[in-house]
Symmetry: C2
Subunit: 243 residues, 2 copies
DNA sequence: GTCTATATAGGGATAGAC
DNA sequence: GTCTATCCCTATATAGAC
């Protein structure tokens, strides 16, 4: 890990370079880091107090959940399968999850916090409206590439969430959309963007961003890199916005 | 129904007028018509030979399926719930569906046939490439508005399908995408469109079209009409394509 | 902290009366 | 053609041994 950082030290940092590699160097969202985040956000609900053990098993549970639920859906995934896939006994699972439903809630909750904080961080300090809009597009595509199983799960399985959590998921999406609404609105006020329906515009951008993790089977099959995809989406959107 | 047709007789027909009303006059996809299509495509698997009875109950089963599965997903919908909601006994259901899985397969199959035929029909006879592309965009948005529960179900529950049916669903999407690939490619060859990655372009269009039925809760809440949405998407895409 | 064995509920499907 | 009653299985969740 240190080696990698060293070899790439001289290339421009995120967001000056909008490359995926620069983003990965910038983003802390490794598997380990995520499990630690889970512990800090939800640790009170995990009965295993030894974090060294807990982190490792939690990672196995999450990985297995994504694998199984992506095949036939969260609801049709049984805890017996999960137990087998994660190599943790049925009883053991319940030291980490309060219930099957709670597992889905946890994933939604954790990703909501992570993605909101990281896309904030990735665009902080950019003053120029146009540059900020583009950085936000790239950052979301890159983050959803890095955390593809998480994003896919939250989108497809949001129905499995509790009523309360479902509301929160909708609010998270609308909050994210609101950031595009604000940026596009700013650009129009500044006279650098064409005037249009900013809500529909933001909504369309979100849809294009989500397509990246929703249809990853298609894009991967065609060997489209996240950077290429981000470039294409940016060109499409800016062709409409730029005066 | 006749009255409606009479009052609107003088307005331009689809696709000359790209209004939703003109499309509805053109499209045969009423609830009754769909159930008849189901019978003609899948009648051999329905043990009820009296069509007058069968059509009506089939309609209730489909309506109930969409209602229940849109709330918490197809897999978590039990046949007991379906029985209650459709007001047909457990045993009675099995005169119409071979199994729960078959019900999902049926919906996917029928919509595949209907949407492919109707969007074909809606753009048949249009020679001009640009006009044909726009008509296809409008037709799909309008059809997915008319059959919103069907489109939503097939997208969200495609995982519940059999392996074979799942493959078919993917192929249907790729076939549809291929029509955009061809149209965009034609336009570039004709010199009326800017050159770009036609696969990514088609993929982006599909994503924007699907957003209409996937996020209908959002668009409805904002009182966006299907026509307004179609206009916006068309402007967005054509801003990139038109030279 | 982790396992095996089990309790209990609810699922899909069907037999057989009407 | 439709219903009720029932079969059998698999699901989640937990108790208690180690």
């Amino acid at each position: 890990m240190n080696l990698k950082n060293t070899t790439k030290r001289n290339s421009p940092a995120w967001p000056e370079s909008l490359s995926y590699e620069a983003f990965l160097r910038f983003s802390p969202a490794s598997d380990d880091w995520i499990c630690q985040t889970v512990y800090s956000l939800r640790g009170d609900q995990i009965s295993v107090r030894n974090q060294r053990i807990g982190l490792e098993k939690l990672g196995r549970i999450l990985k297995a959940t994504f694998k199984l639920s992506s095949k036939t859906g969260f609801h049709s995934m049984s805890l017996r399968e999960l137990s087998r896939e994660s190599d943790i006994s049925m009883g053991g699972l319940y030291a980490y999850i309060g219930s099957k439903e709670e597992l889905a809630n946890l994933i939604e909750h954790v990703l909501g916090v992570i993605s909101s904080e990281l896309t904030d961080l990735a665009t902080a300090g950019i003053e120029d409206t146009r540059a900020k809009l583009i950085a936000l597009i790239y950052a979301h595509i890159y983050l959803s590439e890095q955390l593809q199983p998480w994003f896919y799960f939250v989108y497809m399985e949001s129905k499995s969430l509790s009523e309360q959590q479902k509301e929160k998921a909708k609010r998270t999406e609308l909050d994210f959309e609101a950031r595009f609404v604000r940026l596009v609105g700013d650009g129009i006020k500044e006279g650098i963007f064409n005037s249009l329906d900013i809500n529909l515009c933001a909504s369309a951008i979100i849809s294009l961003l989500q397509d990246w993790h929703l249809k990853s089977w298609k894009h991967r099959g065609r060997k489209i890199s996240p950077q290429r995809y981000a470039e294409f989406i940016t060109e499409l959107v800016m062709a409409r916005l730029d005066i």
